[in-house]
C-alpha cells in the first residue's frame, strides 16, 4: 500500500520561457516515477516524453529548477515538494 502511494505521487510541473515553448506546456499534473529521486532524474524522465520534451531537456545543464518556489541545484532530492518549476537562467531587471 505504501509503495503504491509513492509510485503514484502527483506533482505540479511548470515550464517557463523557451522550456514552455518547446514542451508546449506551461503547467501540468504529473505522476512522479518511483525511480525519480533528484531534479536531474526528473529531467531525464521528461526527456522521454516525445519530441518537444526531448528538445526542451536536451541540455539539462542549461536549465534551472525550483522546488516549491525555491531555487535548487539539479542534484537536489525532490522529497515532498509539490511543485517543480523548470526555466532558463533568469534575465529580468
Amino acid at each position: 500500500m505504501i509503495e503504491v502511494q509513492i509510485e503514484a505521487r502527483q506533482v505540479t510541473l511548470r515550464y517557463f520561457a523557451w522550456l514552455r515553448e518547446r514542451t508546449g506546456v506551461s503547467e501540468e499534473r504529473f505522476a512522479l516515477p518511483a525511480d525519480v529521486v533528484t531534479v536531474r532524474d526528473l529531467m531525464t524522465a521528461l526527456q522521454q516524453r516525445g519530441e518537444g520534451f526531448a528538445a526542451a531537456f536536451a541540455q539539462p545543464d542549461a536549465i534551472r529548477a525550483a522546488l516549491d518556489h525555491v531555487h535548487v541545484k539539479s542534484h537536489t532530492a525532490i522529497g515532498r515538494a509539490r511543485e517543480i518549476g523548470f526555466f532558463p537562467p533568469v534575465t529580468g531587471g
Partner: protein, 154 residues
Amino acid sequence: MSVRVSEADFDVSAEIAQLTAGQTNIGAVATFTGKVRGEAHGRPLTAMMLEHYPGMTEAELQRIETEAISRFKLTASRIVHRVGTLQPGDNIVLVITCAAHRHDAFQALEFLMDYLKTEAPFWKKETSADGHGTWVDARASDDAALSRWRPKNI
C-alpha cells in the same frame, strides 16, 4: 518594505512619496530604473516580452529585500517589476532604497539589483524588426556582479 509585479507602469516620484511620507529620519533616497533599449546586439528591437513565475517571483523578491534589510541600515525600500509586452523606452523595473545616510542607500540599491538580475524568475524575449523573437541570454557579468556580496573564498 514592499515588492510588486505589475503590467502597469510606475511613477518614480509617486513611489518615493509613498515611502517617505511622514518620515523625517530619511536623509538619502536612491532609485534605479531599468528601461527597454531600442537595440539589442546591434539589431533594432521593436518589443520586449517579460514573462515571470507567479508565486515564486513575489517570494524571491521578498527574500532578496529581506536580505538587503538585514545587511544595510534601510528605513524603507521598494521593488516594482513589470511584466507583459513593453516597447523601447518603457520602464521595466524600479528599485528604491531609503536610509539615513547615502552609503547604505547606494549599497543596498546595488545589492538588490545584482540579486534581482540573477535570482528573480523573470525572462525577457526580444522581438526584432523582422518579427523574430529571441529569448535573452543570461549575462556572465551579472553573475560576476553578484559574487562581490558573497563571503570571500578562504
